[in-house]
Symmetry: C2
Subunit: 322 residues, 2 copies
């Protein structure tokens, strides 16, 4: 079996070897640029890991893995326009480096190319792969819209929040694993468990992201601690605090949410997080999704040894401190 | 065989019956709105006509026809953002009626749904259909980018112009016919001729659009005569004028291109179009593409009677005066 670094290298080599097109250069240079920004390539690595777990040649899943990475990068290019984001992985976003029309069009083309890549997969199950891929793609768009809607809502419930992060982030992790498993010939039931494992890991991962934003030990590169608090972002932490705050503290919290000084605001909200044990709540939520994830992985009908890399990878994802 | 109105009705009924999704409404309402704006539905009607011409049940091609119409509308939604266009078919554009993020995301979702629809087609040739569809989709994006590039270029050649309109407009007409023909079981050679027929008709149609913008008899709804001239748009007419103008008239033309008064500008450029017989040139170009189109249709191995509706439709497209 492979290691994460070995699979990452396969993906990066595949990206280097792939030509997405060349003319007009205004359209293709942003694609090469975006695909070259690097990162941990989690989604395509998961696709290969799933194929490997079912003892298939990982090369059979390489086109599909790249399809998923190209799709993921398409969502980033378009999201960066909507979020007016200047930086991505410490480099200029496509929107910033070129312009809005180029970012729209090169993103569109990445979506088209992702389907092309998926279609290169040698499989007798292509229509199923395409339907998993496209259903997931639609959900990711829905998740992004719901996330944008949250900005203008006065109240978001716990369930609405979990639904949003499932769509926006988690289903693509699920689909990455399911597609790898299906290419390897996994049964319908195993494919479903792989999807649920990935989806639950994705939800846990996003909750952890929320926790780290307020309680990370050090500021990760390009991200300061408390950014979510400063921007009143409706994270699981804030949603829970708003749900559980006593009426004696409500006025204080409302004042903090309107506080223009970020330092005072972050300090004040963190104090309330401590008082209401919000971190412990979020940690327990994260743990519940992790437990469900491992339950699904446990149900998959391959030997425990073949699951070990995926288990280790999930734990490593959850152990990062920034 | 069917008539255009009968096929149009089939398409419109199919659109009415199709649910693209509902939640979140910010994402799906614009899709329903856009698909409901109407129009002549030329592309999906061509798909059905092609299937009918090869004596297939047109209902077999209905999902693919709708896929093409949804794809076409996706390009309009995104183009309207890039062009900052307030109106489309006399109604507000999605970008204008909602906002830019909604227009980006609902467009993305239309592209995803178009692939879903195509995949519903019952055929043993799906991978070929998908590759025609996706190659065409990529070309349409390339054409839009090249068209935007033209705005900042000081010189565009005749060939570059034809290349741009082929990609931006014509290949989709070609693909609409090819896909209908393939669903009906047409041979490889016939499918190719159908594609070329549609592409050449598309180029002729676009050249006619350029002619009408300067020489149309009356202002069509929402479009004034001379709009291309006023905006210095690099149409086939202006490109040819710039190519053929004597040096004695060059200064006059340059002054006209810089003229801030639209009326004076349009009048002056039209006078030069007359002097250099630009309309006749464009008409002859249009005729050349029409001739090539009918040559390809002629080669298709079905009886002349079965081709008649397509021939009539092409002529009607070319005879509109506004």
């Amino acid at each position: 079996m492979y290691t994460y670094p070995a699979l990452l290298q396969l993906i990066n080599q595949k990206i280097t070897e792939t030509s997405f097109g060349s003319n007009p250069k205004e359209l293709y240079e942003p694609i090469t640029y975006m695909m070259g920004l690097g990162g941990k390539r989690l989604r395509p690595v998961l696709t290969l890991m799933a194929a490997d777990m079912f003892a298939a040649d990982v090369n059979k899943a390489l086109d599909a893995a790249l399809a998923i990475e190209v799709f993921h990068n398409f969502t980033l290019v378009h999201d960066d326009i909507m979020d007016n984001a200047p930086l991505r992985r410490g480099k200029e976003t496509v929107f910033q480096k070129w312009n809005m029309p180029v970012a729209i069009l090169s993103g569109d083309l990445m979506l088209i190319r992702s389907i092309d890549l998926l279609a290169k997969t040698e499989t007798n199950q292509f229509s199923k792969l395409l339907s998993v891929f496209n259903d997931t793609a639609a959900k990711v768009c829905e998740g992004q819209q719901i996330d944008m809607n949250f900005e203008t809502l006065s109240k978001v419930t716990h369930d609405e929040y979990i639904h949003m992060i499932s769509l926006k982030t988690a289903v693509l992790l699920g689909a990455s694993l399911e597609i790898g498993a299906r290419i390897a010939g996994a049964s319908e039931v195993d494919a479903m468990h792989m999807y649920e494992f990935g989806k639950c890991i994705g939800i846990a991962f996003q909750i952890q992201d929320d926790i780290l934003d307020s309680f990370g030990q050090t500021a990760a590169v390009g991200k300061r601690i408390g950014g979510d608090i400063a921007s009143n972002k409706k994270t699981l932490l804030l949603i829970e605090l708003l749900d559980s705050v006593h009426k004696d503290d409500l006025k204080l919290l409302q004042n903090l949410l309107a506080e223009p000084n970020d330092e005072l605001k972050i300090e004040g909200v963190l104090a309330l997080y401590d008082k209401y044990q919000i971190k412990a709540f979020a940690e327990s939520q994260k743990q519940q999704y992790l437990d469900t994830a491992f339950h699904h992985l446990n149900e998959v009908s391959v030997s425990p040894e073949r699951k070990q890399l995926l288990i280790n990878t999930a734990h490593e994802l959850m152990e990062r401190v920034s």
